[in-house]
């Protein structure tokens, strides 16, 4: 060993054609600067302890991000309430961080609803959204006094029937869709503002007198880069609220602006990196709060502002640590690197160019590389094009900004899903979801007797 230390550090030999018009390498070092630690935890140690790949989430980043969002809104508006969007990341430990910070729960299915109750969230602090609520879901939500956000007329009528049957007065809000000047306009959820459906639904609810209309809800899109669209949405919901006050002398309790704030990820097809272009919480807060404060409510009538932000609160806190399985040269001469994680566990690589950093030091030489996952499927591409140093087998990489949606949309396909680890503010790493096992997967399978045995010659 002593002998070999006198030798020069080895790096894979590289040769590249000098192409004009491509990214030049001068000053782009931040693109592939190694990330050896997350918070104070060594990437290498985490992989040794929990296996590769492994999702890790930084408790510090989650809490700091939440505090930042909370500050942005509370310094601009007197009554603000966040509700954690379960679908974004519903690992219980993560949900509980948000609940500790003061978030209610926002759920979109019976499964998520049960999860929130099980985590100990009081029923009247669980907002029930979504187009698919079964009778069982609705009954349970009515019994728990949960705010039920009505998506369509069929649901409105069904709720009215259940209210009569159960002799209860459910707390409801309606979801409103609208033109906020952005494309595509989400018009499949809720009742439309411009064509009067929303106002009609409000009238049906109030005049029907079986349901208690306590709020108005919208959710104008996803990965929104334009704060001004939220201002438009806030004006339109306020307009409905003021209309209710005027016609029925009734005050609604809250306006729920939903979520959709962009995180710092870079969408495929966008030219500038999301880190530089995504609006800040301050910008979203300024747009929404200014619109509400100027809408014409008297000070005492100002409704509670509810926010269901998911992605922007959790994306940056999440990392995926993985390893290089192999390198190969494609027929056209491009370099390809095969990683031990694919689109099965990193669903978001379909729409983001996730930033990927090597987890060990390299020289400044880089190569353009296609990054593939390990699935035996052609669609398993993590990055079509990344500029990275010459990674070799077993080197580690860190994928950034994966905290939102991956740990809920991941698929169990040909392999088990990896462990999820929380990097605690107590300086310890905590396993919050174990790596799946064959037993986990087969637990729900049933083998008919006639298929119990076989013989192969």
């Amino acid at each position: 060993m002593k002998m070999s230390n006198k030798k020069a550090l080895y790096e894979r030999p590289l040769i590249q054609r000098i192409n004009t018009g491509l990214m030049n390498k001068f000053g782009t070092k931040t693109e592939y600067a190694p990330v050896t630690h997350i918070d104070t935890f060594s990437v290498k140690d985490l992989i040794t302890q929990y296996g590769s790949p492994v999702f890790v989430l930084s408790e510090r980043t989650i809490r700091n991000t939440y505090k930042e969002a909370n500050r942005a809104f509370k310094t601009r508006y007197p009554k603000v309430q966040f509700a954690w969007s379960y679908k974004t990341n519903y690992i219980n430990a993560i949900c509980n961080i948000f609940h500790q910070e003061g978030s209610w729960a926002e759920v979109v299915s019976g499964f998520e609803y049960a999860k929130a109750l099980k985590n100990g969230v009081p029923g009247n602090r669980v907002i029930f959204n979504g187009p698919d609520k079964t009778d069982e879901d609705l009954r349970s939500a009515i019994n728990n006094n949960s705010p039920i956000h009505i998506d369509h007329l069929d649901e409105l009528y069904r709720l009215t029937e259940l209210a009569e049957e159960m002799k209860k007065r459910p707390n409801v809000a309606i979801r409103v869709n609208m033109d906020t000047g952005i494309y595509p306009m989400w018009d499949r959820f809720g009742f439309n503002y411009e064509n009067g459906q929303a106002w009609d639904a409000i009238n049906k609810i109030i005049l029907g007198d079986k349901l208690e209309l306590i709020g108005l809800h919208c959710h104008i899109g996803t990965f929104m880069l334009s704060p001004s669209a939220y201002a438009t949405a806030a004006y339109k919901l306020s307009d409905l609220a003021l209309g209710i006050k005027q016609k029925f002398n009734k005050q609604i309790q809250y306006i729920d602006m939903g979520g959709g704030f962009a995180s710092k990820n870079t969408l495929k097809g966008s030219y500038l990196p999301g880190e530089d272009t995504s609006p800040t919480f301050d910008q979203f807060a300024e747009a929404i709060c200014t619109a509400l404060l100027n809408a014409g409510f008297t000070d005492k009538d100002l409704p509670l502002l509810i926010l269901e932000t998911g992605r922007a609160l959790i994306d940056e806190a999440g990392y995926l640590l993985g390893s290089v399985i192999a390198n190969k040269r494609l027929a056209d001469g491009r370099r390809a690197t095969i990683l031990d994680f694919g689109v099965n566990i990193m669903f978001t690589s379909f729409w983001y160019n996730h930033k990927i950093s090597p987890a060990q030091e390299f020289s400044s030489y880089t190569e353009d590389t296609v990054m593939y996952g390990p699935l035996c499927m052609n669609i398993d591409v993590i990055r079509d094009h990344a500029t990275l140093p010459p990674l070799k087998k077993d080197d580690h990489v860190v994928v950034h900004t994966v905290g939102a949606y991956n740990m809920t949309q991941w698929m169990q396909f040909i392999a088990m899903r990896p462990a999820v680890v929380l990097l605690g503010m107590d300086g310890k790493s905590h396993l919050i979801r174990k790596r799946e096992t064959l037993e986990n997967i087969e637990m729900n399978e049933v083998m008919p007797d006639i298929l119990n045995t076989f013989k192969l010659s």
Binding site: K7, P13, Q16, R17, I18, G333, S363
Partner: protein, 80 residues
Amino acid sequence: MNLLKNLALSDTGFVFNPATGDSFSVNPIGLDILKLLKNGKSENEIRKSLLDAYQTDKETVEKDLYDFFKMLEQLKLTEQ
């Protein structure tokens, strides 16, 4: 493996093929290999030279040299 005879190698890692007008960049170890090839060294000699000069092992050098030579062929920098 024979490198094109008139290939111009610069110590900066800049490589120019006067026959086609293409230019390339190589990292320092790549430049070492090109120089060894230019001096008529065989694949075995190059392998040994790299093992003497760098902290690496036989398998890695074998894999990487194979890939590097394939690239040289693909980039049309070798005598047919």
